[in-house]
């Protein structure tokens, strides 16, 4: 019980004293996971929308494959990206192993199936309601899917939050491809893993609490934006 109260106190001190090291780690975590989600959104939303409307042989197999990748272990992703980016790997010439860029690539790969699978569900559901009517108005399938993602933008935001949660909370991939280098690639989860291995459990737990707090804050901000009437947002002229 003491460990928890100590951790709470330590977490509060780290935050209130604006510990520079802590904020650097928090900043890098948000930067890496945010970038991964942005890249993952581009690929995942497009893939999900396409899977919702495309009709081709093997589509069910591809959907099953994407759904299976939801359970993709982050260490496996880390290992694959490590092999690709290591000196002897096909992308070794990029020289980005053990950099934040490598971590972004790994986390992007991790979130794409999640975003694609959930976006596909959103579009399929919306198509049941409005697919015919959009088609009757002249929208081709992929355009209908894109419009339905705009229509379901609150759902898309929830998907993105889920993806961000998956990215920011994973440790395996960033540990392997980032190397947990202090001041360079150390993020919240790798810092927690390090402090735990060193036996500094209160600090590890405090960092965990800070991580939860940051995610809760982001959720709160997004939640507030979702309370606005839907027609007041969105990008169509």
């Amino acid at each position: 019980m003491n460990a928890f109260t100590d951790s709470l106190g330590l977490a509060a001190r780290l935050i209130t004293q604006a510990d520079a090291n802590l904020w650097r780690i928090v900043g890098l975590s948000l930067q890496v996971s945010g970038s991964a989600c942005a890249i993952g959104a581009l690929a995942g939303l497009a893939l999900g929308a396409w899977l919702a409307v495309a009709r081709f042989a093997g589509r069910s197999l591809l959907i099953a494959g994407v759904n299976t990748l939801l359970a993709l272990p982050s260490v496996v992703v880390g290992l694959i990206v490590y092999l690709l980016l290591s000196r002897s790997g096909p992308l070794g010439s990029w020289g980005i192993l053990f950099t934040p860029q490598a971590m972004v690539i790994a986390q992007s790969i991790l979130v794409v199936p999640l975003i694609a699978a959930l976006a596909r569900e959103l579009v399929v559901e919306a198509l049941r309601e409005g697919g015919d009517q959009l088609q009757a108005m002249g929208a081709r399938p992929m355009l209908s899917a894109a419009l339905l993602l705009v229509h379901e933008r609150r759902g898309v935001l929830t998907v993105m939050l889920t993806a961000f949660g998956r990215a920011v909370a994973e440790v395996g991939a960033v540990m392997i491809v980032g190397g947990n280098i202090d001041g360079v690639t150390r993020v919240m989860t790798t810092a927690i893993a390090l402090e735990t291995s060193k036996g500094d459990l209160p600090l590890a737990l405090a960092l965990g609490l800070v991580l939860l707090g940051v995610v809760a804050m982001i959720n709160g901000v997004v939640g507030l934006t979702q309370r606005r009437p839907l027609a007041a947002t969105g990008g169509l002229g």
Binding site: A136, M137, G138, V150, R153, R154, A231, L236
Partner: protein
């Protein structure tokens, strides 16, 4: 009168289910056609076939070229209109954009359509916050705005209260007066008498009667299925 669409022995199958069987008909400019029949008789399928949302499994559908050699422009109003989570204005703009209306003409069309259905004051309201009747009027504005040759209406007043029903009926009548060709499915025989000049009775996917409205409601020599339908008798008795 100019022929807009022709069906020649057109059938539609959904898997093993035969939804339409050997339908032949000619739709001419300015006609007000009502499709009547029991649930499952094929009214909606026929509307979708005429509009081009589905293809005939066998037989032929031909759209006759109109001005500048283009096929007739059509709009489809569904029983429950699908409106995107956007404002009234943006929903209309989207319809105009999808219909390929030039950017320079969209503002005029939009204003004209809103005036036509009396929704000018609600232009910035979220479309989904409108009442059922207002939503259907917006759907009619969306149809009117693209200045179609044919308007397909699938039970357009079925889910409305009596007041909204009267408003929507009045608008449909105006569309007819504007010279638009109307093809409407309805269970409301009074509405059919008021709005249509030609009635098609469908039964089990077959076209049983194709007659002028007056004859349809007064001729005692129509096929037995149609007489039963008009008397409100259940076909399986």
């Amino acid at each position: 009168m100019t022929v807009l669409v022709e069906l020649d022995a057109a059938s539609v199958h959904f898997g093993r289910v035969r939804a339409l069987h050997d339908i032949s008909l000619t739709l001419r400019r300015g006609e007000r056609l009502a499709l009547v029949g029991a649930n499952g008789s094929g009214k909606t399928t026929l509307l979708r076939l005429l509009n081009g949302l589905i293809e005939p499994t066998s037989g032929r559908r031909q759209w006759h070229p109109q001005r500048a050699g283009r096929p007739p422009v059509s709009a489809f109003v569904f029983q429950r209109p699908f409106l995107l989570h956007l404002s009234v204005r943006r929903n209309l703009r989207l319809a105009l954009w999808l219909a390929g209306v030039p950017a320079g003409a969209r503002a005029t069309r939009l204003a004209g359509a809103l005036e036509r259905v009396g929704l000018q004051a609600l232009v910035d309201r979220p479309a989904r916050s409108l009442s059922g009747g207002q939503q259907q009027r917006l759907a009619l504005a969306r149809a009117w705005a693209v200045q179609p040759d044919i308007v397909f209406l699938d039970e357009p007043t079925a889910s409305l209260d009596p007041t909204a029903k009267r408003e929507v009926e009045a608008l449909i009548e105006q569309f007819g007066r504007d010279g638009m060709t109307l093809v409407m499915s309805s269970h409301n025989l009074g509405q059919v008498k008021r709005l249509a000049d030609r009635v098609l009775h469908l039964e089990g996917g077959r076209l049983v009667v194709d007659a002028p409205t007056e004859r349809f409601f007064t001729d005692g020599g129509l096929p037995i299925e149609t007489m039963q339908f008009l008397r409100g008798e259940l076909p399986w008795r």
